[in-house]
Symmetry: C3
Subunit: 303 residues, 3 copies
Amino acid sequence: DKEAAVEVFAPHKGLNQKPTPIKIDRISEHEVNIEITAQITDIEINKGEMYKAWTFNGEAPGPVVVVNQGDKINFTLKNMDPSIPHSMDMHAVHAAPSTDFANVMPDHTGTFSYPADNPGVFMYHCGTKPVLAHIANGMHGMIIVKPKDGYPTDSQVTREYALVQNEWYKYNNLEDFTNGVPKYVVFSAKALKNGDPNTNGAVGSLVDKPLLAKVGDRVRLYVDNVGPNEVSSFHVVGTVFDDVYIDGNPFNHMKGIQTLLLPASGGAVVEFTVTKEGSYPIVTHQFNHATKGAVAVLKVTKD
Amino acid sequence: DKEAAVEVFAPHKGLNQKPTPIKIDRISEHEVNIEITAQITDIEINKGEMYKAWTFNGEAPGPVVVVNQGDKINFTLKNMDPSIPHSMDMHAVHAAPSTDFANVMPDHTGTFSYPADNPGVFMYHCGTKPVLAHIANGMHGMIIVKPKDGYPTDSQVTREYALVQNEWYKYNNLEDFTNGVPKYVVFSAKALKNGDPNTNGAVGSLVDKPLLAKVGDRVRLYVDNVGPNEVSSFHVVGTVFDDVYIDGNPFNHMKGIQTLLLPASGGAVVEFTVTKEGSYPIVTHQFNHATKGAVAVLKVTKD
Amino acid sequence: DKEAAVEVFAPHKGLNQKPTPIKIDRISEHEVNIEITAQITDIEINKGEMYKAWTFNGEAPGPVVVVNQGDKINFTLKNMDPSIPHSMDMHAVHAAPSTDFANVMPDHTGTFSYPADNPGVFMYHCGTKPVLAHIANGMHGMIIVKPKDGYPTDSQVTREYALVQNEWYKYNNLEDFTNGVPKYVVFSAKALKNGDPNTNGAVGSLVDKPLLAKVGDRVRLYVDNVGPNEVSSFHVVGTVFDDVYIDGNPFNHMKGIQTLLLPASGGAVVEFTVTKEGSYPIVTHQFNHATKGAVAVLKVTKD
Ligand SMILES: [Cu+2]
Ligand SMILES: [Cu+2]
Ligand SMILES: [Cu+2]
Ligand SMILES: [Cu+2]
Ligand SMILES: [Cu+2]
Ligand SMILES: [Cu+2]
Ligand code: NA
Ligand code: NA
Ligand code: NA
Ligand code: NA
Ligand code: NA
Ligand code: NA
Ligand SMILES: [Zn+2]
Ligand SMILES: [Zn+2]
Ligand SMILES: [Zn+2]
Ligand SMILES: [Zn+2]
Ligand SMILES: [Zn+2]
Ligand SMILES: [Zn+2]
Ligand SMILES: [Zn+2]
Ligand SMILES: [Zn+2]
Ligand SMILES: [Zn+2]
């Protein structure tokens, strides 16, 4: 078994595939083509510490995908990994997993089609066995399905970011993935539009280069905790979430939340106002995890 | 202490009591007699691996109990365990724990009476000290209290199952129960009616023999995470929960949920539609736990 | 580094500062002065086992703070700790953390001012780095912001308590705080008014001296799980929560809840009725944690 593992992953040794851009093309009012690439790419997960991640598009988490409720998604997965199959499981859609989330072999391309009929903030991830290894090695991300009728608070929002929480463990160590505790727990910002911050899940990256806001902003965060193993107690220091939509569905509305519990793979839209200049840490309030890196900063300036 | 434990549990050695059927008799419109037996029975928890479980009725989890909101429950506990007391704590009822959930001595029978006035999906379990040992050794199950006015989505549901998540640890090892990580995390299906699948909490049992549905079904799952220690991030691959009722109470209505966080002992009604033929894995998305066995399959066929 | 730690904490050796009372003075209809003292005080966390806690006012958790929605809080932190800075992060308020939750140096006093505009049950804690150490060593508590328009169930409540869940680890051991499992998980009752029970977070303290109620009481608990690391599956044996307000906000209303999942730092108002004489255990249903001390008792008498 150990030998087999060595054999399978030997082709990854020294491999560092250059990030391939995601392709998202709207081909009609309710239909969108998405192409994502599975590839092996070195990711900095802490200062000076690289992880030869299994990725979507050379990022971990992968790029954020934004579609509209009611869209048909025509999805293409290109697998550039020379040695093992990968696949795509999108939590946003109705699909038959055994065929629509099927494996794509090394150096092959698979195409799939399914409807995104539920609004919200969802996890996507590789669903190839052992799933835990594919997620823990970096094959996860967020897909946002914009609700047909929007959120009741849309008009108040003045700034928005997409934020993902994930864990890192010992390198490609299924035993540690299964029975260990996380080495790092981290946040990443994923660009909603050109020019937005776009980072990998790395200790300190959003402390050194904070997210930005202005005094008086109502900030919306699209958040998802992709795990693979831990829940998140998502909290922004110095404010209270005015409005929360669980899994990003407008129906699941809460108000005045200090800390939002996200299941493994769970998402949300959270909105809050920042009333003064300063630095607002974003954490999971499971402080062992914050200590392991799950701290981002929102820097609020006057103008 | 160790010696005492040896003495107390010596009578369990080699004991394997044949499952006793649960008795549920409705004696009037709003009153039901329930008889459950505490007994020591060998349970297969993984292929070829037996666990001399402390059980209700020779199953672990025990048989599902279904009553109506407003019922008076006359409850009888027969304790066939030759060496230690057991008891019954039903989360569904209003009761004085110190008397209504009292210990029943070995080879004795206790009778209790209490109202089931809250609709929902609840845990039941042995409440004898150390409670952690009695739950972890297998004394847990689900009681459904059907809401007086039903669920708003009752008429749409075409298929339903009862599903329980539980953990297994090192055999009867209180130190491992308290400080260890689960050896297995598993699902079981508990029969709602004659002919339904009815399994113990065992790795792979609901993969080898999947739950069944047809294309177009709206499936309702009654779910409960009986622990004893872990929370569950309950998810069905390939679909989204159209409607969720937290703890099975129609008031606690959510929509469009990808993954439902269940506290230790928490329950829910979740409903979803399956739109295509194929195999839909059911997991806790805490993937270390899925890796340890928490995977069931719903097989969807055309006709 | 180890040497530095020894140096910094040497002044704590043998130190046991007498609890200083909290000061809460309403100075106008919508403005309140609060003075809290950071100090080093020995706390009994299990029978005969003392912990030289970092505390607010010589208690761990600190005293409960109750204000009204819309209040301006003028906050004073006196730091009596001779060796390290402390600070105050209140989840209830809008504030710029970098200035309003700033460090107060040893033997210094800091004053801050912010609005408590969100109703609910919130955590407060020291936010000085490493935050995990300051929380795990005892610097946490609960602040209740009473909603302007009350709760819809106010008129039915006949008894109320404030209850906090926290964990204890190896003494001042950041490695154990970060990667260990809790040594103890405990509840404490914090006095809402003179004469109320007021305890530290200690194994068994609320079992030996239970909370009290009468048959027929509708009991309200203000609860908060201050962590630092674990979530709580909050449950009262023998009853069901009739009404729950997540984070204590009247908008976040649930009914018929058996067990409430609290994130690390999350709070709630839960209400239930006790219909019979007897002892009702209060637990986290993560039973490894209940086994480590997270059990309180509500004793219900006839008159
Ligand atoms: Cu993969
Ligand atoms: Cu998934
Ligand atoms: Cu028992
Ligand atoms: Cu229980
Ligand atoms: Cu401090
Ligand atoms: Cu905090
Ligand atoms: Na899904
Ligand atoms: Na944890
Ligand atoms: Na876990
Ligand atoms: Na109960
Ligand atoms: Na735990
Ligand atoms: Na806050
Ligand atoms: Zn759909
Ligand atoms: Zn905070
Ligand atoms: Zn709303
Ligand atoms: Zn009742
Ligand atoms: Zn999935
Ligand atoms: Zn509804
Ligand atoms: Zn505010
Ligand atoms: Zn119970
Ligand atoms: Zn309400």
